[in-house]
Amino acid sequence: MTDTPADRIARATPPAVARRIRGLSDRAIAWIFVAPTIFLLLAVNIFPLIWTVRLSFTNFQANRPNREVEWVGLRNYERILTDDGIWANMQATAHFLVWTIVLQVILGFALAWAINRKFRGNDLLTTLIVLPMMLSPAVVGNFWTFLYQPQIGLFNYAVSFVSGVPPSSFEMLGSVRLAPWAIIIVDTWMWTPFVMLICLAGLRSIPEYIYEAAEIDRASKWRQFWTITVPMVLPFLMLAVLFRGIENFKMFDLVVQLTGGGPGSVTELASINLKREAFEKWRTGYSSAYAIILFVTVFGLASIYVKALNKVKER
């Protein structure tokens, strides 16, 4: 390749220089624009997170700032991981997570499937169905305690109307057996529309000609469903599960208002238990270690899951 003088001049004056004549360089603008966001996240997210890690190795108590702080090494972590109570909270969280996801996936997919039939008025119905998930979980949770009242609540009345069981014979929030289901029902009520919307986007992304080809090959409707619809919607569905999983692992507001973790501690999910340790018992060091364990768990599970999701997408 020949190197003409014009080439050399072009290389010697990169476009950035030309642009700087009319104000800041692109690079400088990029930095000025991105810096405040990064700074804010470092100050309000990363710095506190590092602080939490530091606190997790101490026996500091936030309500006694003047007491001497001792460095306790990994003792907090050891105590948490060998505590039966915390394993019970983890189990309650897992139970809540698994059931809400199963119910929301089934209901959400079925709804999306039906809405995709394009019957009249489905746009209006979609908008109405979506309302619960946009509301404040705390306010909604508080109101559901009213709906769950055994004597006067709408829920018990409706159940008794359908099943014939007297409404005052079961107490959703007071019974150890039913309370976990009470929160699963409300969470499903709130978040099924979320799964539905994502499934609907998935269903609408399937090009029609694939079905037409299958029809020509005389594939049965059932066969078309399992070999076309399900695999094509799966990546969307997995994304919905990821979002719901992360959200429900952090679940706090809805459950605090509904059951407050009770009766006993059957609905005491991890973050409610954590709040109690941190802001009621004021065991700051200990609860910092707890927070770190939870964060690492979410992050770890989410990363593994995202890998699986990417594999499904590539297929």
Partner: protein, 313 residues
């Protein structure tokens, strides 16, 4: 629509689907309808058995929401001058007199101030960052974008302890400014991701043409990109507002009096002998109403907003 399409659902399957979805909608909207109805019931009607669907509407819940009331002795009660206003009369009918204003108005205003303040800030910072990510070669771009997203995975309680300590030191705890900064930090990930998607869709040629015409980058951004991105910015703003509006965990941990928002406040409304359900329902209705309206306005952008733009319709 082509009449010969063999994949078009049959008329009967459409019918069945329509009925099933309508049924689901009726069931799912019942709790919401019940909240709104309870707000217009009188105390005894709200707790009657069987639950009353037909009732005489009353503004008791709304009056109780905005006032504090007290009971007087029988004698003192009879010596009172006759009620002057309609709300005086409603309170008297319950056997009480108005003692003062409740804190609901103030809490609602806090929600408004913190919600709009943090939304404005997230959109301002988010638009700048999104523009830079969309148009320039930012070093470590993908890593930074993932970092921004990952901040959303953290359970609020995991960072609440040091934020609590930090805010106490800086004098930011229980202040509007403190909550605005906090909600901005939580919302900024959503704002950057969503806005980047919207800005990516604006053709670069527009700006290039402006640059050739002698605009600086700043001018091109302000006069060409921003007007094009208005719809996207508006949609993003409403999502940020809805989040800040509904947030509870930080609000309950970091505010106690001055800057408390409505979500921690509404459940604490207590009447004589337990929760005053009509007042709670009235508060909930007033609080949920803006979000319901926004949802209807937002329906086109809904999916993108709730999934960080990860899924597009």
């Amino acid at each position: 629509m082509s009449a010969v399409s063999i994949t078009e659902p049959t008329a009967r399957s459409k019918w069945v689907a329509g009925i099933l979805v309508t049924l689901y909608a009726v069931i799912t909207l019942m709790p919401l309808a019940w909240i709104i109805m309870t707000g217009f019931k009188s105390g005894p009607d709200s707790i009657s058995y069987p639950p009353k669907v037909v009732f005489e509407p009353s503004l008791e819940g709304y009056v109780n929401l905005f006032t504090t009331r007290t009971r007087l002795s029988q004698q003192a009660f009879q010596q009172l001058p006759p009620p002057e206003t309609w709300y005086d009369r409603i309170v008297r009918d319950q056997g009480m007199v108005i003692a003062g204003q409740s804190r609901f108005g103030e809490r609602f205003m806090n929600s408004v101030i913190i919600g709009f303040g943090s939304t404005f800030l997230s959109i301002f910072l988010g638009t700048l960052a999104a523009y830079a990510f969309s148009r320039f070669k930012v070093p470590l771009k993908d890593d930074l974008l993932f970092f921004i997203l990952s901040t959303r995975m953290m359970p609020p309680i995991a960072v609440a302890i040091p934020i609590f300590l930090m805010y106490r030191t800086l004098g930011l705890s229980d202040t509007h400014l403190g909550m605005i900064i906090l909600y901005t930090a939580v919302n900024i990930s959503l704002a950057v991701w969503l806005l980047k998607g919207f800005i990516d869709e604006i053709p670069r040629e527009y700006e290039e043409a402006a640059l050739i015409d002698g605009y600086t980058r700043f001018q091109a951004f302000r006069k060409v990109v921003l007007p094009q991105a208005t719809t996207g910015i508006a949609a993003t703003a409403i999502f940020c507002l809805i989040f800040a509006w509904n947030e509870y965990a930080f609000a309950v941990l970091l505010t106690s009096g001055v800057a408390q928002t409505a979500p921690p406040f509404i459940p604490t409304i207590i009447g004589v002998g337990g929760q005053d359900w009509p007042a709670v329902a009235a508060g909930a209705t007033l609080f949920l109403l803006p979000v319901m309206i926004f949802t209807i306005l937002l329906r086109k952008h809904l999916l993108r907003g709730i999934t960080f733009g990860a899924v597009r319709k």
